[in-house]
């Protein structure tokens, strides 16, 4: 009979509607069966004994993330000594498929390179969260953070993470990745038992404190708002911004911690550097004017 199929379909949707309520009420506390409270809110797990799927009421509730979840990388430093685990070996920047990591290796007074990064940047507007950096780091120094609450109002100071913004203590990592932490610690313990060659890399260098940032940081151009729940300091100022509010200085990047543009020579795109800078300046003026015309500067 014509219409049976439609009626059946409607029956299925009706069944779904009813079963939602059955899941919600009669089998209480199904919804919160596997969940637990934390400071950041309730963490939900998808219960296996229901037919549907539990709605995660973000931001009050969150989905439980698996240990291997990856978002943007983070850098680890030893909690006791404040020493970076990173030795600036550069493997992460080499394996990074979109090449969004760049590192400046530190130098001692004589100008000899030492195994420590002076600067470490990740451009989150390029990063593809592939996890290669963490996978191939031989020192367990770079790992994937679980923090996804990274939305910002301004891309340029906000989404270029420098070493300070990327650094987290090892305890943070241990809390995020309990299993991997355990395995890595066992490995480390094994390694420590083995007789090591006299030239040890760790203690030979002066214990670098975490607090004093090595390079003079660019002033926070636009205050990116911080949130309390976030486990790491929020981006607070990058090193390049198209038009920071109230900025009147030179419009080219040479005064920022990037290398000055060579006075002569040709850039890889085949255009003389000099010409590039002329046009860049024009373009930034144009951009600034357009932003003004848009009237999008909203006071917060």
């Amino acid at each position: 009979m014509f219409g049976i199929g439609i009626l059946k379909g409607l029956g299925v949707t009706l069944k779904h509607t009813v079963s939602t309520y059955i899941d919600d009420f009669s089998r209480t506390p199904t919804r919160y069966a596997d969940s637990y409270e934390t400071a950041a809110g309730r963490i939900l797990r998808q219960p296996t004994n229901i037919t549907g799927i539990v709605t995660v009421q973000y931001p009050e509730e969150r989905r439980e993330l698996p240990e291997n979840f990856r978002y943007i990388p983070m850098l680890l430093y030893e909690e006791e000594t404040g020493e970076d685990r990173c030795t600036a070996c550069g493997i992460c920047s080499k394996v990074c498929p979109p090449q969004c990591i760049w590192i400046v290796r530190d130098k001692d007074e004589k100008g000899k390179p030492i195994k420590r990064p002076a600067e470490f940047y990740i451009d989150a507007s390029i990063c593809m969260s592939c996890g290669f950096c963490a996978e191939f780091c031989p020192f367990d120094a770079i790992k994937m953070n679980h923090d996804y609450e990274l939305a910002v109002y301004d891309r340029f100071p906000g989404l270029i993470y420098d070493k300070d913004e990327l650094s987290v203590p090892t305890s943070y990592y241990a809390a995020l990745y309990p299993q991997a932490w355990k395995q890595e610690e066992e490995k480390r313990a094994k390694k420590a038992k083995k007789p090591r060659r006299p030239a040890k890399k760790g203690p030979s260098k002066p214990p670098a404190k975490k607090e004093p940032a090595p390079a003079a940081k660019a002033e926070p151009a636009a205050p990116a708002p911080a949130t309390e729940a976030a486990p790491r300091p929020k981006p607070k100022g990058g090193h390049w911004s198209p038009i920071p509010e109230g900025y009147t200085g030179p419009l080219i990047t040479s005064e920022l911690p990037l290398p000055p543009v060579p006075a002569e020579g040709v850039s890889p795109s085949g255009v003389p550097w000099k010409r590039i800078m002329e046009l860049r300046e024009k373009q930034l003026l144009h951009y600034r004017e357009r932003r003004k015309a848009e009237g999008k500067e909203i006071k917060l």
Partner: protein, 205 residues
Amino acid sequence: MANDQHIPEELQRNVFMTTVDFLYNWSRKNSMWPMLFGLACCAIEMICTAAGRYDLARFGMEVMRPSPRQCDLMIVSGTVTKKMAPTIVRLYNQMAEPRYVLSMGACATGGGPFKEGYNVVSGIDKYIPVDVYVPGCPPTPEALLYGILKLHEKVENQSVKTVPWYRKETPKGIAVPELGPDIFQPDRAEEIAMFTLRPIPAEES
């Protein structure tokens, strides 16, 4: 600001205005309609955000409108290519004020992993103003929701006195880029001609 002038000085810090602001922003932020508009991978996560598990309807946003005339929010979800950029600018121009742009994912924000590609725009903010950037590749639905909450925060802090869409002058649209040998904005044609039509002096190259 120039647009403050039509409100008398003594009224500017009025309790009444604050209440109006509160109601105005509260109603706007709780009925923000996104555009049914997806570009790439992030669009899939956007759809998942709208689906049962994350339920965008909890924020009054379930009505995704395919027509830009009826939308308040454009979620630029995915890689913006040069071929697509004119269309996006046109869509943005067609949206009525107040309009917001959320750049979802690394690609829309800065070109992402495809930044070096010859057909990829390194960030939609080269063409249209962006209110919130959500990094991630792709941002998980929670990350997108966080971005939307940030946008709500922005809306909450706006004031009916200062918002640009009540200004007297008619807002200019954004010139739609054109596809020549490469993408270009027509209003910058002079600048480009200066470069392409004047030979590079010998001492520079």
